[in-house]
Each structure stands twice: as C-alpha cells, then as structure tokens.
C-alpha cells in the first residue's frame, strides 16, 4: 500500500462525488457559486482530517457495537468547532452556506471514511486518506459550481468571464440546474468507463 496511491485515489479513481455518489446534498445545494463550493469543500476537508486522526487513534478502544454513535459524536464535535470558527472569521460565507454547515455531520463521505478507512488504518495513513478524499470532494464541488456559475450567472468566482451580451441562464443556479449538471457529469464519467472497457 503506497502513500501516493492512497493520496491520489480520492481525486479520480475513488472520487467521493463522481465515482461513489456520496455527499450529494451539499454537492447540489452549495454549488450555485464557486466561492461557496470552495468554502464547503475546505470546511468538510477540515472536519474529515480531524475526525480521521481521532478515530484512527481510538480505533482499538471503541467497542464494535457502539462504534457508529461514537464516530458521529466525534464528527459532530469538529463540525461545531468549524461552525464557530467560520461564524467568527467568515460570517458572509457562513450565512450563505446556511444549514449546510451543521449538516456536515451527516455528510456520508466523512462517516464513510471513518468506517471504511480510519477504523482500520494507522494515523499516518488516515491523514493521507483524509487529504486525498477532501481534495477530491473540493475539486468535484469546484467542477460543478464552475459550470453552474459561468452558465447561470456569467461569472467565475465573482469575476465576469462572459461578454455582457450573454444572457445568464437562471435555470442553472436554481435547483433544476444542479440536478441536471450532476446527472450529465456522472454520465460523462460512465461514458469514459465504457470507452475504456471497449463497449
């Protein structure tokens, strides 16, 4: 098991959003602008990193039967810390992400990594895994929000990128555009797979 492999698997091969279809609620809800997408991605990565460290450290002390409640409590603690820090230092971002900041607790990526990786591996490998998965999640949010913000608002990270003659398609920043963008991106990844296997 090489470190590099664990680090890069989250970005393409086991990308949490595009490959495993995990953490879809925040993926759809916050990607109406790139700024929100980056903010959510980094917040979730911070929680994932901290919870992976603690869970890999206590993995031999936790009884098998009650491991899920314990993991959720650990995750909720870090979410609260992130919530308070974000409220203090980035109040505008905190406001626009709204209830999706406390909802990082139930992001299946974080509990999924705790269960599938951190509870079985040592601290160093868990840190590597968290960074890989966190970067993969953030990148997916950036990809989706780029499509939605450019087409729906004519801007990228708040900067105008399309000529002023372009009429922004409001559809893309609203709910239906989110579902459509994700559906088409997932289809694209399926298409890549099918091509590779020669079908």
């Amino acid at each position: 098991m090489s470190v590099l492999k664990e680090l890069t698997k989250g970005i393409y091969k086991e990308n949490p959003v595009f490959r495993l279809a995990l953490g879809l609620c925040p993926t759809l809800a916050v990607t109406s602008s790139v700024e929100n997408g980056v903010g959510m991605g980094l917040a979730a990565t911070a929680v994932l990193l901290c919870s992976n460290i603690i869970i890999s450290l206590v993995r031999n002390l936790v009884p098998k039967k009650i491991r899920i409640p314990i993991y959720i409590t650990i995750i909720a603690t870090f979410v609260t810390i992130v919530e308070l820090l974000m409220n203090a230092y980035f109040p505008a971002l905190y406001k626009s992400l709204g209830i999706f900041v406390p909802l990082i607790v139930v992001n299946c990526i974080i509990l999924g990594r705790a269960e599938a990786f951190a509870s079985r591996n040592n601290m160093f490998m868990s840190i590597v895994d968290a960074i890989g998965m966190g970067v993969g999640f953030t990148l997916s949010l950036v990809v989706i929000s780029t499509f939605r913000e450019v087409l729906g608002n004519g801007t990228f990270y708040g900067m105008n990128v399309l000529p002023s003659s372009y009429e922004p398609a409001m559809f893309m920043v609203q709910a239906p555009g989110a579902f459509l963008t994700l559906g088409l991106i997932l289809a694209f990844f399926n298409w890549l797979d099918l091509r590779k296997t020669g079908n």
Partner: protein
Amino acid sequence: MDFGQYFTMLISVIFINNFVLSRFLGICPYIGVSKKLDSAIGMGFAVTFVMTVASAVTWSVYTFMLNPQSNIFPKIGEMGVDLTFLRTIAFIIVIASLVQLVEIVLQKTSPVLYSALGIFLPLITTNCAILGVAVLNIDQELTFIESLVQGFGAGIGFTLAIVLMAGLREKLEMSNIPKPLRGVPIAFIMASLMSLAFQGFSGLSL
C-alpha cells in the same frame, strides 16, 4: 395561529419548499432507495415518522435544555450560560438514539414492518433531511406545534418525491436508454425535470 395557517404551512413545505426538490435535503436515499416502488414507500413512511418525532424531541431539547431564556434549569439561565452552540451535537445524538429506539420497538411489535423497513432505519440517522428539519425549526424560530407541522410536512414531501421517482424508474427499466446514462445519471436528469415542475408551485398564492 389558527388551523388555516398550519394548513398553509403544510402545503408550502410539501409543494413549494419541497425538502428534496428545492432544498436538496435527503438526496442520498432519494437516489439510492428509489429503484423499487415498495421500498420507496417504506422509506418514505419511515422518514416521515422519524422526522415528526425528531422535530418534537429536538425542539424540546433546544428550548428547555440549551436555550438560556427558557431553560428548565433556572440556574443555567441565571448564570448566563449559553449552551446553544451544542445544538449540532445534541441534535445528532438525539436523532441517533431515536432511530435506535424506533428500530427496537418495531422489531418487538411489528416484525413485518421491521423486515420491510429494517435496512432503511440505520440509514435514516445519516439522512440529512432529519437533522436539516431539526435545525430549520430552530433557525426559523418556530413554535412547538409549527415544528411538528413542518416535520410532518417535510416527511410527506419527501415521500411524495421518492414515490414519484420510484414509479418513473420502474417504467424506465423497460426503456432503451443510452448506455452511459443508465442508472444514477438518468435519475438525476429526471430529478431535474421534477424539480422544474415543482417550481411551478411557487406561483401558488397562499
């Protein structure tokens, strides 16, 4: 607030602000458990039940144990201790134990229902719609009855969305879809169209 206003609220949370299609809560089960109509109905009712009970319990926990103004332990209010920052942790623990409790009760009282809902119940703990409705009830400063109405309505809205989706997906089994779109991608595209249709309800004047 009279009965009419509760009804308005119910309609609004089911159709206009549908939890799945306009607030993006509970997407994972919406896509994951909507392949068969039977399991979609089961999941819908399980979520509705847990959501209603969770709304009542989390509202009470927040109001009587965390909020300094209305705390049942007067000492906490007097000392000016503000425990509201514990909201996220308190709510998720309440929801996790509630789901466990429902599972145990169902197992003893109704084995048929348990075998139908059994596999969905553990998933409900990490269903963001449940925690979402609990947090929204507090953020919108609703009263106890309003929270109950919102919790129940959100559950019905979720059931409606997932049952419609399952019905469509059962039909899709028979149709000829381009290979890359099969499975989850086409489900998302249908969700997009459904969400577009539900946006029509935002014109309702209540």
